[in-house]
Amino acid sequence: MPYIPHTPDDVRAMLDAIGADSIEDLFDEIPSHLKAAGKLDALPEGLSEMDVTRLMSDRAAQDAGAVSFIGAGAYQHHVPAAVWEIATRGEFYTAYTPYQAEASQGTLQVIYEFQTLMTRLTGMDVSNASVYDGASGLAEAVLMSLRANRKSKSRKVLVPTAVNPRYTSATQAIVENQDVALERVGFDAASGQTPLDALKPYEGEDYAALVISQPNFFGSLEEVDALTDWAHANKMLVIGVVNPTSLALLTPPGEWGADGADIVVGEGQPLGVPLSSGGPYFGFMCCKQKHVRQMPGRIIGRTVDMEGKQGFTLTLQAREQHIRRSKATSNICTNQGLAMTAATIYTSLLGPDGLGNVAAHCHANTQALADKLTAIDGVERAFTAPTFHEVVLTLPKPADQVLAALAEKDVLGGVSLAGDYDMNNAILVNATEVHSEQDLQLFEQALKEVLA
């Protein structure tokens, strides 16, 4: 029996100890007409590890082989071998949530170190132990801003349309049942930034927070200082949405404007987590010290044991569902511990200079790619704003059609902006440190052919 150790002798001995004749007897409290016996006919026969492995290897191979320039919130990076060889050690991989602190100091210290890393990257005071992903993290940040902004009674938050539309739609789905409204703020069609002008209509109005994405979905860099100061001047909190790799180069949200952002969230995937078809990734979430009791999710604190020795423990649990139940800050329970562990190892391996070099190569490679592609007739940068490692290009043909043609050449040329922005000829393109000069040329050549 796969994974079940009991022999017929064991079963007999166990039933004897129970005083039951058969295993079926143990289900005698279940109304017999409800029993599912024989009902699982749609399930196939069990397979050996060898057979399932072969089956899944064949399927994985179907999806392999292309060179991809898709970003849009998930980015290819070199993941050092050490990261997952350590993260999948049984001690991390098969441990539970560290409720028994004495038997979980490994995981607890990792989280404390992660929290510290994230505060250093973002320039914020405190961090939690992760939320599901960047998108749901924004939803949690929106809800948190309603609780944290003592100056506002509003249940409305300003969200630029230049924020990743997938973040906005997930946030919408998560917060809408609590009568929270997301008010959309447009972007400047020339620069690809969220201009102060677009905020003018909301001046003096009561909103709990303004969301600022740096870079924004188009890869464009926002004027974060001005936006932050505007929000604070209008008694709104600032929720920063940031790419962690970019923070090795860009002003950390804790230093935006005069007072910095109040809450910062983002997708942690770029920090050592493979693309993996979309997950598991992890969302990070940081805030100013004064808002810590409004932050959802697990938080680890450093303390001492009864002998005065340093130790780590779950703290501020009174915010959480297992203590607070219906009054909790969120229903979140399980988070993304293992991905966060990997990110902690990754960030330690890279260090400030290494992460800086990764960020610089991403930027430079994307610039080089954009230069190559815009040298093709009819291909142009859509926006004028400076970018980090992603750029919008307009094409002389419909984006969906071009991308499909590129895919036939095993080049995944980015994502189309036809659906979310009605920019039918625009694609969002990303390059990172993993792309070689040959990769860039491959894209260039393929696009030339497709547009010819």
């Binding site: 994974y3 079940i4 009991h6 079963v11 005083g19 143990l26 279940i30 409800l34 699982l40 399930l43 026969e45 590890e49 399932v52 492995t53 179907q62 919130g73 050490a82 049984g90 001690e91 949530t97 560290p98 028994q100 602190a101 038997a103 979980s104 490994g106 250093r120 599901y132 997938r166 997930a170 919408q172 789905a173 090795a248 860009l250 002003t251 493979p274 078809s277 997950g279 598991p280 810590v292 604190g301 450093r302 044991d305 703290t315 009174a318 959480e320 219906s326 329970c333 399980t334 988070n335 993304q336 511990g337 293992l338 991905a339 330690s348 260090g351 992460l355 190569h361 930027h363 400076p386």
Partner: protein, 487 residues
């Protein structure tokens, strides 16, 4: 040195050189305006590759884990996590696939997801499944949000309450609130079943639905489940099944057959994906016919020609929408797919059977060595409750003390002080993957600790003694918040 933080190993200018590309000339960054650049590099650790490997390898050894110890955490289903599932999910074709890759480059992944949806439909008896939720709590959210969407679509806007038995997981009431509902708790009786009369009294036109687990967190099968379903349905409410305890009945009873309208499953419990020290999980939801239009997206669909495609809000505009940026915890879903294929039909049925066998055996053995069952007249499901109220009163030794002392016996403590309605309790779930000898060792440890509690209660109250740290000062942790290290 072992207790140092990675930051304390840092030395300016040190780095794991092999792990990053070389520095670029500053002019390569000239396109980024200076005022958007950070002034100082972030205070990340500056350490060598070996320091990192050694630090985290040593840290890992300070954890208990299923790969090392028996871990009988009630309602958490800490079963063996097959290593084959890890290898399969880490295959390069899956690992390097971008979530927004076109369908032409996603057929392998989509086929696994489509089949997993079907497997989960079959084992739960539901009509449709979405794999999108990233954890049990998000599955709960999706479930209750669908209940709300259903009522809203019918213009039935008087329904403001969710009923929840008071033994329920904390996520249940927290979720109801996140979906804009008020929570009304329903008491559980002496025998662990819901107080049916109280439930009926609570039902009314304001009832949006009921959230419950069956077997309940009392570790017993709710025998009146059909009556409960009838009462809630007659009041116009829907029934939500919290799948945390699905392991107990896998292959034996199906939530769909019991009358539930919506269910979430914890794949990191029932489908043996790892807990990873606190996640990731995966919390797929299954629904009955009437909730099909509201399932969260994306889902995998199959065309007539056998090819697979995404089902998203563009084709299912009644969906409650996206719960994440992409497709949930895909890697966890792949591991669950591996597990489902490994077990197959017969294997699924055995899960419920043998987890129930193990729990009932362990309960009887523990009773025989002097432990007190909370529901001695009931069958255990896959888990059961002990209460140490007597020991707490007579010896001053609490459930927490016994839990801590178990660590010294190299046994992870069961879930403590949950459910809240049983004083000084352990919720114990051995799972089907532990050998009889492992169960017997746990019994021996418990017997020894009860003996110690009688003879050396003060010692037990100071346990553990063998772990990297002694009991921690949680009060100090909460009062003098130290949440990030500073030099």
């Amino acid at each position: 040195s072992e207790t140092q933080l990675i930051f304390q190993l840092s030395h300016p200018g040190r780095s794991a050189t092999s792990q990053a590309p070389k520095a670029l000339a500053e002019d390569k960054l000239s396109a980024i305006p200076a005022h958007l650049r950070r002034k100082e590099k972030p205070g990340l650790p500056e350490v060598s590759e070996m320091q990192v490997v050694r630090h985290y390898t040593n840290l890992s050894s300070k954890n208990f884990a299923i790969d090392k110890q028996f871990y009988p955490l009630g309602s958490c289903t800490m079963k063996y996590n097959p290593r084959g599932a890890n290898r399969a999910a880490m295959l390069p074709g899956f690992l390097n696939r971008h979530p927004l890759a076109p369908e032409s480059h996603s057929q392998g992944f989509l086929s696994c997801m489509f089949e997993l949806q079907n497997f989960l439909k079959e084992v739960t008896g539901m009509k449709g499944v979405s794999l999108a939720p990233m954890a049990g709590a998000q599955g709960e959210f999706a479930g209750v949000a669908m209940i709300r969407a259903y009522h809203d679509a019918r213009g039935d806007d008087q329904r403001t309450e969710i009923l929840i038995p008071n033994a329920a997981h904390g996520t249940n009431p927290a979720t109801a609130v996140m979906c804009g509902y008020k929570v009304r708790e329903v008491p559980v009786g002496e025998d662990g079943d819901v107080d049916l009369e109280a439930l009926k009294a609570a039902c009314g036109p304001q009832t949006a639905g009921l959230m419950m687990t069956n077997p309940s967190t009392c570790g017993v099968f709710e025998r009146q489940v059909e009556d409960i379903a009838k009462a809630v349905h007659e009041a116009g409410g829907l029934l939500y099944y919290d799948g945390a305890n699905l392991n107990a009945i896998l292959g034996k009873v199906r939530p769909g057959d019991m009358g539930f309208d919506v269910i979430h499953m914890n794949l990191h419990k029932t489908f043996a994906t790892p807990h990873g020290g606190g996640g990731p999980g995966a919390g797929p939801v299954g629904v009955s016919e009437r909730l099909l239009p509201y399932l969260p997206t994306p889902m995998a669909g199959q065309r007539d020609d056998g090819s697979y495609h995404w089902v998203d809000t563009d084709s299912l505009d009644t969906s409650i929408g996206h719960l994440s940026a992409f497709m949930g915890n895909a890697g966890v879903l792949l591991r669950a797919y591996f597990y489902a294929r490994s077990l197959g039909r017969e294997g699924m049925i055995r899960v419920g059977e043998f987890s129930t066998l193990a729990a009932n055996y362990l309960l009887k053995r523990l009773e025989a060595v002097g432990c007190t069952a909370a529901y001695p007249d009931r069958r255990a499901s896959h888990e059961f409750i002990l209460t140490f109220a007597k020991e707490a009163k007579e010896l001053g030794v609490t459930a927490m003390d016994i839990a801590k002392r178990l660590l010294d016996y190299n046994q992870h403590a069961p879930t403590t002080y949950f459910p809240l309605l049983v004083p000084e309790c352990f919720l114990i779930e051995p799972t089907e993957t532990e050998s009889k000898e492992a169960l017997d060792e746990f019994v021996d440890a418990m017997a020894a600790i009860l003996e110690e509690a009688r003879n050396e209660p003060d010692m037990v109250k100071e346990a553990p003694f063998t772990q990297p740290v002694r009991r921690l000062d949680d009060v100090k942790a909460a009062r003098e918040l130290d949440l990030a290290w500073s030099e």
